[in-house]
Symmetry: C2
Subunit: 513 residues, 2 copies
């Protein structure tokens, strides 16, 4: 490294090292660690979600739950264990999940030569649920007799296990938390309406609450949920241009109804199979918000899901004044907590830990608290607060009259929320192309940089695809997949970017998490 | 059965059969089923918690969570899996749980002769958590270096598995939901203060929120949590006089700190082990409220945990008027939903299902909705509502002016809450004795009726116990245990009811769930 480069590096010192440009994958790990959202545990592939990450998940839950209730769903809880005989009923489903299931085979431990070993072998092994279609189907088959028992609209908040060979914190872990909605309907039309409705719920939630712009579309046959007839998804773009599936909604047809024998007497008096749907979103979203919003100084938490939206850091330079400063900060905290942002009280925290003010500030920068206030003796005298907005770190600190800040606090928070959304949207637009029409250009685009696409500018290619399954093999060496067939089709006819054949369907190609 | 008895039986027809007096255990199963709170699943020992039961659990969670936050705790999430090597670190802990653990030994399935079989054997088997002291201790050992990192005050909402040989729905199932608090402190005093504080939280919650009166006390050594130094508990009395442990709080001493190596540099500069606590309450509480409040017509849900506190049943006798009735009911619903009970909006539901009004009424009686309103054309004309309170079924229906009911709805709900508490307290007082001083009287009391203690009037015996472990064997044939050493000790000296030796300690003896 030249002397100059060294100096530049020093000048641009960041809280997170490496930076996104230096090593995106490592940067991600470091942000998760530095923000104290989660960490890998000693249990293979499993994580510990810490207070700052779990708090964001709880706020996501609260909002999703509100939207699920608003659309008529109720929460249930079903068993963690699925007997293998249930699982075997739907062939595609088994094929899709068999390779990554945790299996319980024993029901006690015994000590042998001083070591604990499994004992009490089960007659039928039990899978830990990777998803609950089959165990919920079993219940539905008992609950449904007539069309009067339909629709069934339920949701479950639960943990699931998919044995990941290459875990990545928050994004891909052996155990993760999620919600899974499961519904049963009389007709195709009703079930499809539900499937699309829930995709809309996810789409609005992602954009309005997580500040993550998404593209809504349908998965191609090869990317469907195992056992589904149609899979719809919302796809987001991470800062390295890769796609992340942020929620899916499946129309399952009568596949699971037949597998689980969910039949009902129709209005016409016939015995028919119900049409089912399922839809889910998971703690993967915590990974998505890190990869969407974090910068080289750490996380930037969207206000709507920040457990603490405003942090007050008392600046105590002199013991004689610390009582006065703390009292002022506490009264400011109470005043802000009495204000509302959206339909909820502002979540404000006074950081009273016994460490230096500067250390506190950097803690909250790395965690990504939307607004940090610093209050020292001089600010009290001047009746002001020193405001730092996490979305505008480069703008530095602003001094505002205390009363003015209190009045505009909710607006400031909403501005942070909007800035995060706008920046993510601008990034996606900058890294989306729709002028690639042939394989040579397509290959050149994705070959630019397979390792560090944060720098390359690669992202989403919107192009025509003829729909031939065989043609997808060309994508494998590039690590690219069809992310979805977006709902907003152009309706034009062109040529397939993979085969050169005539094609009308627009699809999104990208590398993905 | 004589003709007279038959007639009497008919006259006293109840919605639940058998009644409590006829067969208490069966009555319990039937109430859970008829109230639609939960049902056993096809998965051995596991249950499905349905909307009405899960809704009550969510309201319990909300209130407990509020109280946990108020006392400084934050939510985390830890892995479902515990490596056997973690578990083995605390000998008493292993001994206490080894016989009832689900063990994962494989991580995929493969098809062999057309049947799914476990494949991909794990190097180290994983236990499904029956409780998380060891896996959380592993994390704490990494987080704690100095006294500045203490206290750690965390809680987790999770599912746990204890392989029950004789499952009983809601009360004892292989998988159940719970919260487990885990804290680490510098000193014995702090940890003990926390342990007692959380017991108080449970006690207040049970009485104020679940309307379940409880006795607070300490478990004797033989009944402690495996690995604990002290276990404190709240004990409730069910309607058959049996005790049910409704929450526990453990001072774990330095046992788990040593097992998991959680050391810190003290204020004096020494390397010391932290003092830890843990405390938990589970979906078992759903069983407790059924056994405390239900009657021979079904569940009686305490208003504070009822997903729907007031049900509006439209009475539609004539198609021409049904539009008018539904509109009136909807406006009444909206008016009530705008009122508050406690600090929350009243939860009111208009039951618009396409079935007869009488069927709806009985559905909600069996579910135990606190207040049911019926509204038909004549009520609209008279500007009135027909009110039925679930706690006063025998009082029948009351007609009230609509405006008067709306004004007093919150009071009515609070009266239901108080009635349920008062009845449970009265039952406990009626079935508690403190005048048994020798073994003969003790044995006679509990021998009266071992099978149907709903009728016998048996309950809690408060008597002296000398503390000799050997003496407890006398209790085994009676199926009685020492429930706790209640905090409110009389301070008198007497004779041990088991040995006749001098004794000062008051304990509560009872049969228990």
């Amino acid at each position: 490294m030249s002397k100059n480069a060294q100096n530049n590096k020093k000048a641009a010192k960041t809280a997170i090292s490496p930076t996104r440009a230096e090593d995106y994958a490592q940067w991600y790990q470091q942000v998760v660690r530095a923000s104290d959202m989660a960490e890998l545990s000693g249990v293979r592939g499993c994580m510990v979600i810490k207070a700052w990450g779990y708090g964001a998940w709880e706020l996501m839950q609260r909002e999703l739950d509100r939207r699920f209730r608003e659309t008529g769903h109720e929460n249930y809880y079903f068993p963690l264990f699925i007997p293998l005989s249930y699982f075997q009923r739907e062939a595609d489903h088994v094929a899709g999940f068999a390779k990554e299931m945790a299996i319980v085979t024993h029901h006690r431990l015994t000590i042998k030569d001083g070591v604990l070993v499994p004992d009490g072998e089960l007659e039928e092994p039990l899978a830990i649920r990777p998803t609950s279609e089959t165990v919920i189907g079993e219940s539905m088959s008992k609950w449904v007799q007539s069309y009067r028992d339909l629709p069934i609209l339920l949701n479950q908040w639960a943990n699931v296990v998919r044995w990941e060979m290459r875990p990545r914190i928050l994004l891909r872990t052996a155990e993760f938390l999620w919600q899974e909605g499961h519904t049963a309907h009389e007709t195709y039309e009703e079930a499809m309406k539900e499937t699309r409705l829930m995709l809309d719920v996810y789409g609005k939630f992602a954009e309005e609450h997580l500040a993550v712009p998404v593209i809504k579309g349908e998965k191609i046959a090869q990317e469907r949920f195992p056992g589904a007839v149609n899979t719809f998804c919302i796809e987001a773009m991470m800062q390295d241009g890769r796609a992340l599936q942020a929620g899916t909604s499946h129309y399952l047809g009568q596949n699971f109804a037949k597998a689980c024998n969910i039949q009902f007497q129709s209005r016409q008096g016939n015995l028919e199979y119900v049409h089912t749907t399922s839809w889910g979103a998971s703690t993967r979203l915590l990974g998505a918000i890190v990869m969407t919003h974090a910068d080289d100084d750490g996380m930037r938490m969207p206000p709507r899901i920040a457990s603490h939206q405003i942090i007050i850091v008392p600046i105590l330079r002199d013991d004689t004044q610390s009582g006065e400063v703390m009292a002022y900060c506490e009264s400011l905290r109470a005043e802000l907590a009495a204000c509302s942002y959206g339909d909820q009280p502002i979540r404000v925290k006074l950081d009273a830990r016994d460490i230096a003010g500067g250390d506190k500030r950097w803690d909250w920068i790395k965690k990504g608290a939307p607004i940090i206030l610093e209050v020292g003796p001089r600010d009290i005298q001047g009746g002001q607060v020193c405001v730092m907005r996490r979305d505008k770190m480069s703008a530095g600190k602003r001094f505002m009259a205390r009363s003015e800040f209190v009045q505009t606090a909710a607006n400031e928070l909403e501005e942070v929320q909007q800035t995060l959304f706008n920046e993510a949207l601008a990034l996606r637009e900058a890294r989306s192309v729709n002028d690639i029409h042939d394989w040579a250009a397509f290959e050149a685009y994705f070959k630019k940089d397979a390792d560090n696409s944060f720098v390359s500018g690669q992202g989403f290619v919107r192009a025509k695809w003829c729909g031939e399954a065989d043609s997808l093999a060309k994508l494998d060496p590039l690590g690219v997949t069809v992310r979805c067939v977006p709902f907003d089709q152009s309706g034009t006819t062109g040529v397939c970017v993979l085969t050169g054949k005539p094609a009308t369907q627009d699809v999104i190609f990208a590398r993905a998490y």
